[in-house]
């Protein structure tokens, strides 16, 4: 039975269990719901959970585990000469066996027996069914594939049986356990709590996934380039080695890191004051009409694709700043030379800052609005002006939330790519002038990953090293930020 049909059956079974348990509970209570410990719906949910959840868990585990078990069984049956080969070659053989097995499932049993062990014919036949094989299969593979299919089918049959037994057993068990004083709600809520726990574990799993999806390639990078050259190098020039350096090039992280922090800092310099003041105005001064209009409008800024901002920086903001600087310079010194480059830290920072405004404003607005009114009354009643109230009472009370919002904004600034590419360029330089171009870690990650470079060379692999390094750096920053927030948190009410 296919997985989706099993799932469908489970859903139906769960629904039936729900209805049955609910009416049984009602019957036991004599139609008086207050005689029950929990509302009747909870009894229904309890039975539904018992009838589906264990079965589902077993189903998932089985589906995840059985291919591995079948694989090892099939591999054990490989001829000795195959087993003598390297692990990589065995892997290849197995993947071919798996492909053949998959292909055979598309054939009728008559076709299979007609083919016998004619390997070339099998390849042709499978090709005809749209299943490509890397080469002509060896005879042992045909048998192995047949074993694989047989074992897989057997496993599936047992699984189906187990799942249905579990489902029916669970439903029966739950129905039998129902009694008026039975604490169905507590049980259901415990399952809900577990569901919530599982939801929050997804964040952890994501982290694990990110680390693992980068780790192996990062290790390959560090095998080629010494870690010290990477972490402490001050030159980023992957194709040109410095005097006496490695044979690949210079992979200095520091200029990228500085660029990341610098551009992020300028962006925050724009976004934080503008966003915070906008939030304060919307929450404290603006009429509901203005607020309900301005807030979603500002939120549009967050929704514009960053590539649009990028071109905006490239075509409009950059040249504008350059010409402006030339004018200013001319007025001051008489020399009409521009001191701001068209692509610079400043350009990228400003444009990115604009993109980040709604992150600060919308979140802070919600947080400021949530500060209890009594606090404002208290301050106003003492003769404070509105702005004093905001500065001294409302903002401090809202601070933990606002810091959270700012953290998220900063995070977004660090992770942004397109704007930087177009507004600040891709040149990794180490300098402190905000009017000159610099670049960021993320830009290099994207570029090294998506270029025409050889995918096996350190030049591409460095992207993974950069990714993992950035990941740990931001992790440290976040830990520090949490510490700061904890220290200054003020609880109201």
């Amino acid at each position: 039975m296919s997985t989706s049909i099993i799932l469908l059956c489970l859903v139906v079974l769960g629904a039936l269990a729900y209805v049955a348990a609910r009416s049984r509970a009602m019957a036991l209570a004599g139609g008086k719901p207050s005689a029950l410990h929990s509302r009747p719906g909870y009894y229904g949910a309890y039975a539904a959970i018992w009838s589906t959840l264990p079965a589902l868990i077993i189903l998932c585990i089985w589906l995840a585990a059985s291919p591995g078990i079948v694989e090892s069984a099939v591999r054990d049956a490989f001829p000795d000469d195959v087993k003598a080969k390297t692990a990589a070659e065995q892997d290849l053989s197995y993947s071919m066996v798996a492909t053949i097995a998959r292909g055979m499932n598309l054939l009728t049993s008559d076709e299979i027996s007609a083919l016998g062990s004619d390997t070339a014919a099998i390849q042709a036949k499978l090709n005809g069914k749209g299943v490509p094989l890397a080469g002509e299969p060896q005879p042992f593979m045909i048998d192995a594939a047949k074993t694989l299919n047989a074992k897989a089918a057997g496993s599936r049959m047992i699984m189906t049986a187990v799942v249905f037994v579990l489902a029916l057993g669970g439903a029966f068990y739950a129905l039998r356990g129902i009694a008026p004083r039975f604490r169905a709600r507590n049980r259901v809520e415990r399952v809900m709590l577990w569901a919530l726990l599982v939801a929050s574990s997804i964040a952890i799993l994501t982290t694990v996934g990110i680390v693992f999806s980068m780790l192996s390639e990062a290790i390959r990078f560090f095998a080629a380039v010494p870690a010290t050259d990477f972490f402490f190098g001050t030159v980023w020039d992957p194709r040109f080695a410095g005097a006496g350096g490695s044979s690949f090039g210079q992979f200095g992280l520091i200029p990228l890191l500085l660029g990341t922090l610098y551009i992020g800092f300028v962006a925050m310099l724009v976004a934080v004051p503008v966003g915070l003041f906008a939030a304060i105005y919307m929450a404290e001064y603006a009429s509901p009409k203005v607020r309900s209009l301005a807030k979603p409008l500002l939120e549009v800024l967050a929704g514009i694709p960053t590539i649009v901002y990028g071109f905006f920086a490239l075509v409009t903001v950059g040249p504008f700043l350059r010409d402006l600087s030339a004018q200013v310079n001319g007025l001051l010194t008489g020399n009409y030379g521009n001191f701001i480059q068209a692509q610079s830290v400043l350009t990228a920072g400003i444009v990115m800052g604009i993109m980040l405004i709604p992150y600060v404003s919308s979140l802070s607005d919600d947080i400021i609005t949530a500060v209890p009114h009594a606090l404002r009354d208290g301050s106003l009643g003492l003769g404070a002006t509105r702005s004093e109230t905001i500065k001294r009472v409302v903002l401090p009370a809202a601070l933990p939330g606002i810091v959270g919002a700012l953290l998220m904004t900063a995070s977004r600034a660090i992770g942004e790519t397109m704007i930087v590419v177009l507004a600040a360029g891709v040149a990794a330089r180490m300098q402190i002038n905000p009017f000159e171009p610099m670049t960021t870690v993320t830009v290099k990650i994207v570029n090294q990953l998506t270029g025409d470079l050889e995918f096996t060379s350190p030049q591409t692999l460095v992207a993974f090293a950069l990714g993992i390094t950035l990941f740990f750096i931001t992790l440290c920053l976040n830990i520090y930020a949490l510490y700061i927030v904890r220290k200054y948190r003020e609880q109201y009410e």
Partner: protein, 326 residues
């Protein structure tokens, strides 16, 4: 999962080849109404080949587009994953041109000028020094008296290698810098690299984006010089003025007959194992290399591809027919 067999060709790789592959894919879908239009991913030659070398099977891609030939290490990686029989198909050439804003006067470069203007180190008075030139006219009095600002392909681009090899290295040699470098640097590999190292003081700007970005940069800085693909230039001839190299105006003819020096071949790679299995794949490859597509009259050339000479095309087709692998 044991999904049903795939009925759509999957292609990934170079963004330079993408427009050509797109045209072919679209025409293929229109001409062969029994096959679905192939999916052509962008993402770079490296990423494309990486996917290509993941293995054989309907859950892997069939074709990798590439703006450079596959490297040995990549073939090795392919082999490790079971991708043994790879068919290399050259589709033509990509011309690389220098262009400025139309408002500028005509420019004519020789590689030596470009080398002197853009190299990290140049020879002055027989010594290797950090590039001192600020204006083109300092490099060569015949060139315009404007600040050097060149928008060259970033290091992630395959074009960069061609630029280094065909322009900088050639200029290095022509200007006689090679000898000085050979004297000052002993390591052979480092000598070659010194020739093609580009200055990093802001006069030469790496562009990691596409040619549209270069175009925008030139629009923002009218005296700048950009490096473009021939096709891109031809589509924007009203905004750009092309420069001659060694006195030759770049065009499909001058490149294909070899007089214009800066060009590179474009390829795609096919998994032989997929040829019989993925419906339409064989037809697609044949269709791609037919004169109807890559011939001098075909839509690819109209878009800006430099067609390979007749004999070469014939050779390509023969190899495809024979399913010749690397």
């Amino acid at each position: 999962g044991a999904a049903a067999a795939r009925d759509q060709i999957q292609v990934a790789g170079s963004s330079t080849v993408l427009p050509y592959a797109k045209i072919v894919a679209e025409s293929f879908g229109e001409t062969f109404s029994n096959f679905k239009t192939p999916i052509v991913e962008s993402g770079g030659s490296g990423a494309g080949l990486k996917e290509f070398c993941k293995g054989v099977g309907e859950d892997t891609i069939d074709i990798a587009n590439s703006s450079r030939s596959i490297k040995d290490s990549e073939i090795e990686a392919c082999k490790k994953a079971g991708v043994t029989d790879i068919q290399e198909v050259k589709i033509g050439y990509d011309g690389i041109v220098f262009a400025t804003d139309t408002a500028n006067s005509d420019v004519a470069y020789v590689p030596a000028d470009i080398y002197k203007a853009l190299a990290a180190q140049v020879v002055v008075d027989g010594k290797l020094v950090a590039n001192p030139y600020k204006k083109w006219s300092e490099v060569n009095p015949k060139l315009p008296d404007v600040e050097i600002a060149a928008y060259i392909p970033g290091e992630k681009h395959g074009t960069r290698e061609v630029f280094e090899e065909k322009v900088l290295a050639a200029g290095c040699k022509a200007s006689g810098a090679t000898d000085v470098i050979a004297k000052e640097i002993s390591d052979k590999a480092a000598q070659g690299k010194a020739c093609v190292a580009v200055r990093k003081d802001g006069a030469a700007v790496d562009i990691d984006g596409d040619y549209t970005e270069t175009l925008s940069r030139i629009a923002a800085n009218k005296t700048g010089v950009g490096v473009f693909g021939l096709s891109f230039y031809e589509n924007n001839a009203d905004k750009l003025k092309v420069a001659t190299v060694n006195g030759v105006v770049p065009s499909t003819e001058t490149i294909s007959n070899g007089t214009y020096p800066v060009s590179r071949p474009l390829f795609f790679y096919v998994k032989k194992a997929h040829l019989g299995a993925v419906p339409g794949l064989k037809e697609y490859v044949n269709f791609f290399v037919s004169d109807q597509m890559i011939g001098p009259e075909g839509p690819l050339v109209e878009y800006g591809l430099v067609a390979a000479p007749d004999a070469e095309r014939e050779e390509i087709r023969k190899n495809v027919e024979a399913e010749k692998t690397m």
